[in-house]
Symmetry: C2
Subunit: 209 residues, 2 copies
DNA sequence: TAGATTGTTAATCGATTAACAATC
DNA sequence: TAGATTGTTAATCGATTAACAATC
């Protein structure tokens, strides 16, 4: 019943693809179709599904609406998750405007910045001074934060978030956060991602093609 | 001599940490130190190094400047890689302003957007209409593109990039690009990353802690 | 029935970790 | 020498793929 780490990530992708199929008017899919759409093999799809107890019909494939219901259950999509964003600079501001989170039932409810000039409102999201993090997180039961502060203060701010009660951090700063084991950290290092890509493009070029 | 996939990624992280150590005035590190800074085990560090032919001294650890030189060689950091960005919306504009790429010897030399209102200049980076992609990529020998266009046009634009000669794409759109095998694609789906984090925070809460 | 598709078990592949030998 | 550290080999762990049995 419990899938392993990567399969949870794939579940999110399947979910997105399934909704696209649904919009196109389909009611059923085969593992083959879904795999193609999500960029994985058909076997992978079936393996993932079976590990989460998602079943199809031997010849009729999977019923999209059923799948979506169960995936939503697994991913706990029944209610909207409220998250905060810390650091309303370039990247932070862009994320505040990003529409893609809504579909995943995630809402950025507030942002925080050390620079008083940046506080106020961005669209419908309030930007508060850093001092308010603690009370806001406590009062609203926030568990997840997006961290888009400069490298130099990332560790500090991370510790503050933890002391306020944050359990998960999506870290866009280039530093490796050193926080208690129980804190779940996802690290997106844009420069490293790009560097990695450049490396493989070079490697491909070097090899005889 | 050839490391495996993940070790290349870690090499980028080691590189960043090593430079920090260097700024602090250190000239040598032990695998233990570096592991802590990069968030991996000391054994992992030594394993990675040995697979790339990076050697230390049995008791004296590794010489930082030597390591950096060799890592730069491996990651082909001798010259600046010129990349383009397609889609100068919220996220695209933020990336155009992002300073983090410079350190990795990567430079965004031009951006492209379908909306004539968005063409012109952003800081020192020119934003051209989409039609210019083909000639620009050809004339400047660009191999890597950052894709920050809306979901609906991502596949189309991806195909265009490929026909212009692009070899690697850093894809921020939520769709799985279907492009020739030889094209190297890195997929960063911000919503999925956040969703994944939320899932694990929930899972941690559900479990008895 | 034959063919297509799911679902599971076994085999393989790849990455990490453990154990330890080498040596400064 | 003893202790600390590297570097390598072996063991383990986890994820993917292959093979195939079940069945609609």
């Amino acid at each position: 019943m419990i899938g392993y780490r990567n399969s949870i990530l794939r579940l999110s992708h399947y979910r997105r693809c399934l909704r696209q199929f649904q919009e196109l008017g389909y009611t059923r899919v085969f593992s083959e179709n879904l795999g193609q759409a999500a960029g994985v093999s058909a076997v992978q799809v079936r393996k993932d599904f079976s590990s989460f107890g998602l079943v199809g019909r031997r010849k009729g494939g999977y019923i999209i609406s059923e799948l979506l219901d169960k995936i939503n259950q697994i991913l706990k999509k029944d209610k909207i998750e409220k998250v905060i964003l810390v650091g309303a600079g370039n990247l932070g501001s862009a994320l505040l405007k990003y529409r893609g989170f809504e579909k995943e039932s995630i809402k950025i409810v507030a942002a925080f910045d050390a620079d008083p000039a940046k506080t106020g409102k961005r669209g419908d999201i309030p930007v508060y001074p850093m001092e308010k993090i603690f009370s806001f997180v406590r009062e609203n039961g926030i568990r997840v934060a997006i961290l888009t502060v400069p490298e130099s203060v990332a560790q500090d701010v991370g510790e503050r978030l933890v002391s306020a009660g944050i359990r998960g951090i999506l870290n866009f700063s280039p530093v490796t956060l050193r926080l208690p084991e129980r804190i779940i950290i996802s690290h997106i290092n844009l420069a490293v991602e790009l560097e990695h890509l450049v490396y493989y493009v070079h490697a491909g070029t070097t090899k005889a093609l």
